[in-house]
């Protein structure tokens, strides 16, 4: 083991008066990563470094349409490609409909493993081809012939919610239903009364595009049938048990039949949380009784792996002349793309994060999880929060500019403090925003007013 290097940064213990000094043996010192030696010697084993004898390769035929009815699927030519050993359609998937978050009670199962009579986004898989080589699998997948009738595509979140928009989802709405409601809602105080009492009302809209994680290692797995009939799944999933449970449910086998070997991920960032490759590889390994690899090409990683959702956020604030924000209304549209995956959860997280770390007496939040004919979006680093913070803090800067106020003073005035009741009816505790802003101002040499210097998170708000 590499020796622990001497402490490089002294700790300001004043912030931790109740901690024992002995608790600080790691913080502030340099400790080598446990996996670093394997990384620099090339000995870390990623999933693809497993090379079982007789490995087969699985590739899928993907639709070229945004939204279409499937009239027929012809796999005759695919089966005739030399080296192709199996061709799978939705009929080969024991439980074809799923949604990954059903493990925590999210409904309905809105996504097919392989498309049945419709495709909802460009790149949706329809047929899986299993072959002796990657080349033969690609060749076979390319020879699948699908006859379509194109349907009108919905490619914008507000268009999807407009009256008369084509309904693209089987459940009958182009939005996820939260306990009977068309969006995830937060209601606190009376936002209209707050606007009426305000000196200014500011409303601005913020938007973001989808963001692809682009890990250097593409999504993939190798499934190896075991002598006792179980399946060993070598995967780069970020969520081994999520993968195990969802895969078992899809293939209709007991959880104990599957073993996931994972934990080594060549870049994930949330992009390897969905369960995209393991179910088909397990079915193919079962059908052929041979090891099967299903890995995305770089093109597939860019085109069909779930990106961070595009978001559109409208923030309307009622503000007093002194900078106090008395009302905040947020309308969020999350573009889930064609299927739910983790977006219903991400949208709830966004609703929980607004109106930001500020104490505002009147708050109204509508967070819509919207379906469109775009690539399904899902988890990525703080999804549901990151874009919201961009919008919230941009809003704070713009308000400060409109009022000709220091942007830090505006934030200090509205910053939550211990004891404040937040819009979600939780009493704030352990807050530290005021101290963080004061320290940040010091570090960059930003002047603060004398009374702002005296503020603290533990001083109760007046009135």
């Amino acid at each position: 083991m590499a020796p622990i290097n001497p402490r490089v940064n002294p700790i300001d213990h004043d912030y931790f008066p109740h901690e024992r000094r002995g608790s600080f043996s790691v913080i502030g010192s340099t400790v080598q990563r446990a996996d670093a030696h394997g990384h620099v010697t090339g000995r870390t084993r990623f999933f693809e470094d497993t090379a079982p004898r007789g490995l087969l390769h699985l590739k899928v035929h993907r639709t070229t349409r945004h939204h279409a009815r499937i009239n027929s699927v012809d796999v005759t030519a695919a089966r005739q490609v030399p080296g192709v050993v199996a061709v799978l359609t939705h009929e080969d998937v024991p439980n074809n409909w799923y949604t990954v978050l059903r493990l925590i009670g999210i409904e309905p199962d809105d996504e097919p493993v392989l498309a049945e009579d419709r495709v909802l986004y460009r790149g949706e898989p329809i047929v899986a081809v299993v072959a002796e080589t990657e080349e033969a699998a690609w060749d076979g997948a390319g020879r699948v012939v699908v006859d379509y009738t194109d349907l009108p595509a919905v490619l914008d979140v507000e268009e999807a919610l407009a009256p008369g928009a084509p309904v693209i989802k089987q459940a009958g709405t182009n939005y996820f239903v939260y306990e009977g409601h068309h969006c995830r809602r937060v209601r606190f105080g009376d936002v209209e009364a707050g606007f009426a009492a305000a000196d200014h009302v500011f409303s601005w809209t913020y938007g973001s595009a989808p963001i692809e994680h682009a890990p250097t290692e593409t999504t993939g797995c190798i499934v190896v049938p075991q002598g006792d009939g179980r399946l060993r799944i070598h995967s780069n999933t970020q969520a081994a048990f999520f993968t195990l449970d969802n895969t078992a449910l899809i293939i209709g086998r007991p959880f104990a039949d599957l073993q996931v070997v994972g934990g080594t991920v060549g870049g994930g960032f949330g992009g390897k949380v969905d369960v995209m490759v393991e179910p088909l590889a397990c079915i193919a390994a079962t059908v052929t009784n041979r090891p099967v690899q299903y890995s995305y090409s770089r093109e597939e990683e860019m085109q069909v792996s779930s990106p961070r959702a595009a978001e559109r956020i409208v923030i309307t604030d009622g503000v007093l002349d002194d900078g106090s924000i008395v009302a905040r209304k947020v309308v969020l549209y999350v573009d889930a793309g064609a299927y739910s995956r983790h977006s219903p959860y991400g949208t709830t997280k966004a609703a929980a994060h607004f109106p930001g770390p500020y104490t505002i007496p009147h708050v109204h939040i509508d967070a819509h999880c919207v379906y469109t004919n775009r690539t399904p979006s899902s988890a990525m680093r703080g999804f549901g929060v990151t874009i919201g913070d961009f919008a919230l803090e941009s809003q704070m800067d713009r308000i400060a500019r409109e009022l000709d106020m220091d942007p830090l003073e505006l934030r200090l005035k509205n910053a939550y403090r211990d004891g404040d009741v937040k819009a979600h009816r939780k009493v704030a505790s352990g807050t530290g925003l005021i101290e963080v802003i004061q320290r940040a101002a010091d570090l960059v040499g930003h002047e603060l007013a004398a009374e702002s210097r005296l503020l603290s998170s533990t001083t109760p708000r007046e009135g």
Binding site: A2, T41, R45
Partner: protein, 162 residues
């Protein structure tokens, strides 16, 4: 076209393998020789993850048909350490500077850096930036990697000087 026998010297050892004309050097190293330290990133020559040294020069091994380099000398990440497992100054500098997170781009970064330092033993910051510009990292940002290469250059020159 039929497969053919290819002879290589890999990390100092003579190797013989049977390869189809479409077999890449990357696949030959990983699947024929079991040297899985070299990673597949994009398989289209864009990310630098699969970089190895071919007769001392860095190449993206996913774009090299192995039958075209019969007789060549190849160095992979497995060939950087001493025979007894002692890390090279470059590997040690990557450790000490935390120049890796997920580790998937690390072998390619090491091989590109190794070639850079052989060509330019005392590179400037700009030369390191330029030298690594063909290698993608998605986790750490590039600062610790650049720092590691500059650190390694210092260690190597100190060794030579002593």
């Amino acid at each position: 076209m039929p497969s053919q026998i290819v002879t290589l010297t890999v990390n100092g050892s003579p190797q013989e393998l049977i390869a189809h004309p479409s077999t890449t050097l990357l696949r030959a190293l990983r699947e024929n020789l079991g040297l899985t330290g070299t990673k597949r990133g994009c398989a289209q020559g864009a990310c630098g993850t699969c970089t190895v040294l071919l007769d001392g020069e860095p190449v993206v091994s996913c774009l090299v048909p192995v039958v075209t380099v019969d007789g060549a000398e190849v160095t992979t990440v497995e060939g950087l350490a001493d025979a007894d497992g002692g890390l090279s100054p470059l590997q040690q500098a990557f450790l000490d500077n935390f120049a890796q997170q997920c580790g998937f781009c690390t072998p390619g970064m090491l091989m590109t850096s190794c070639a850079l330092l052989r060509r330019t033993p005392a590179p400037t910051r700009d030369e390191v930036d330029e030298g690594l510009s063909g290698n993608v990292c998605r986790c750490t940002g590039y600062e610790p990697i650049v720092a590691a290469v500059l650190d390694a250059a210092g260690r190597t020159s100190a060794e030579v000087g002593s």
